[in-house]
């Protein structure tokens, strides 16, 4: 378990994701997610001695392989569509079939509603060797994570109002976030247990965030540019996906007893909200709202997986502002049904977030609570200033 392979996998995964965000070609849209996914399989199977993580990797690999093949089929159908569009046939059924395939293929990467089976298994299998004895160790660590984020850089990039810069800034924060976590561990990556668990934590945080960001970025480009003329059809498809993921993710999360699985299901629900942003599109700043929500989601998730016990009630509250903007954009465009379902499921999600806080406050480890208070104060400061800068510069 040397460090060289680990770094190689992480960097190549990030590279694949970045290529995906800047993709202009159908070939890049296929090769870049493949590069990303293949390195993610390797990352998730990094602990080869651990049987549960092997099983999680198997499931991830099989589902990922199937979805990639479906995506390839879609791209081939897309090429048919290009050929047909050259001959002026806009409403052929080939376009609808191509749409269905691509929604399935991309839908897996984002894991909205129907394709979410592998996510909780993956999260749980990779982190099952987490013992509560390390919790205090992690709490001490979290206090030191108050370095400056590139807030001003992000707001400046957003000001230029180009979608490519938006996506790149998301990736910047993403990779920067993981680097901050790595630097904060003032420990060499040896084969001791503690360094090992940190690597796992980094892996899971990284995987959970970057795959979503990359996939949603590619989804916006794919759905908006080539399929512009059949926008009604993919609106309907994405609406169905959003509804399914919001409902399924939040309802199943209530019944979970394992915190890792609950977080996995809550992230499935979050993707439903993001899909609303994709549907809204460029009018009324739909893409911008999706991106702000993704930023909150990134900070929330990185903090979560880095320090699983200290979720805190404040990240959801700061994220509510992004959610509010998403819902407002959706309401203006006219997606009343979607937005009402989103509101209902947000109320539901408050329930299981509060359950975590209740466990924190009344838990048996009383010595954690001063660290909890310190941690809860820091996201408030950092995410509020991000909010202010983004909202100020969006106009």
């Amino acid at each position: 378990m040397a460090i060289a392979e680990f770094l190689l996998f992480v960097l190549t995964t990030t590279l694949g994701g970045m290529f995906l965000c800047g993709a202009n070609d159908l070939i890049t849209i296929f090769v870049a997610p493949e590069c990303f996914s293949l390195c993610s399989y390797l990352l998730s199977g990094y602990t080869k001695k651990d049987v549960r993580s092997n099983e999680a990797t198997t499931k991830y690999l099989l589902m990922g392989g199937a979805s990639s093949s479906i995506l390839v089929h879609e791209i081939e159908l897309q090429e048919i569509v290009n050929g047909l569009i050259n001959t002026q046939m806009y409403n052929s059924p080939g376009i609808s079939i191509a749409l269905i395939f691509i929604t399935v293929g991309i839908g897996f990467k984002l894991f909205p509603g129907p394709s979410h089976q592998w996510t909780p298994d993956l999260y749980e299998g990779m982190l099952h060797s987490w013992f509560s004895s390390f919790r205090d160790y992690e709490c001490n660590r979290s206090i030191r994570r108050q370095k400056d984020h590139p807030k001003m850089i992000i707001s400046w990039l957003l000001r230029t109002n180009q979608i490519r810069w938006f996506f790149f800034s998301i990736f910047l924060t993403c990779s920067y976030g993981t680097k901050v976590e790595k630097i904060e561990k003032n420990q060499s990556f040896t084969t001791t247990d503690e360094g090992f668990l940190e690597k796992l934590r980094i892996i899971i945080a990284f995987l959970s965030v970057t795959s979503k960001v990359a996939a949603s970025a590619s989804a916006t480009r794919i759905f908006y540019i080539p399929f512009y003329f059949s926008s009604n059809e993919w609106h309907i498809l994405l609406e169905i996906l959003a509804i399914l993921s919001m409902i399924l993710g939040n309802l199943i999360a209530i019944t979970q007893t394992s915190m890792k699985r609950m977080l996995a299901y809550s992230s499935i629900g979050q993707i439903g909200y993001v899909i609303i942003g994709i549907i809204v599109g460029d009018s009324n700043g739909g893409y911008a709202s999706m991106i702000t929500y993704m930023l909150f989601y990134i900070s929330m998730n990185l903090g979560t997986f880095a320090c699983i016990v200290l979720f805190g009630g404040l990240p959801p509250l700061a994220g509510f502002f992004g959610k509010l903007h998403l819902f407002w954009c959706g309401w203006q465009v006219g997606l009343y049904f979607l937005v009402s379902i989103g509101l209902l499921t947000s109320v539901v999600s408050i329930y299981y977030y509060l359950k975590i806080i209740k466990l924190l406050m009344t838990g048996r480890n009383q010595e954690i609570t001063p660290h909890v208070r310190n941690y809860k104060r820091s996201p408030l400061r950092s995410t509020n200033s991000i909010e202010l800068s983004i909202l100020f510069f969006q106009n």
């Binding site: 159908l26 070939i27 296929f30 090769v31 493949e34 293949l38 399989y41 390797l42 199977g45 080869k48 001695k49 049987v51 549960r52 092997n54 099983e55 999680a56 990797t57 198997t58 499931k59 690999l61 099989l62 392989g65 199937a66 990639s68 093949s69 390839v72 089929h73 791209i75 081939e76 090429e79 048919i80 290009n82 050929g83 050259n86 909780p120 298994d121 749980e124 299998g125 979970q256 699985r261």
Partner: protein, 101 residues
């Protein structure tokens, strides 16, 4: 008429691949079905590149990329299979019941 024959062949191979992938208890068989699916897509690409862009190579280039990526995916799949085999001495998928709700 030639085009439809090849499209039917492609659809047939694709469906066989998907069916084998879903209903295989062995992981090596699942990887083979994955290869089958990707090769079916390759045939389709080459056919359509001949049909639409006769003088350019717009579809064939994609086939080369798909071949390379299928090779990489098979490699990584075999790696995972071998690490599972070392731990468990079997490659049956339906024995993976450790991660349940």
């Amino acid at each position: 008429m030639m085009l439809e024959h090849i499209l039917v062949l492609n659809a047939y191979l694709f469906s066989i691949g998907i069916y084998g992938f879903i209903t295989s208890r062995n992981m090596v068989r699942a990887l083979m079905c994955l290869e089958l699916i990707l090769n079916a897509v390759n045939i389709n690409f080459v056919t359509f590149s001949d049909f639409f862009y006769s003088r350019q190579l717009k579809g064939n280039i994609f086939s080369i990329f798909v071949i390379a990526i299928a090779a990489v995916e098979a490699t990584i799949g075999s790696t995972i299979v071998s690490s599972i085999y070392r731990n468990k001495k079997s490659t049956r998928i339906n024995q993976s019941t450790l991660l349940n709700k």
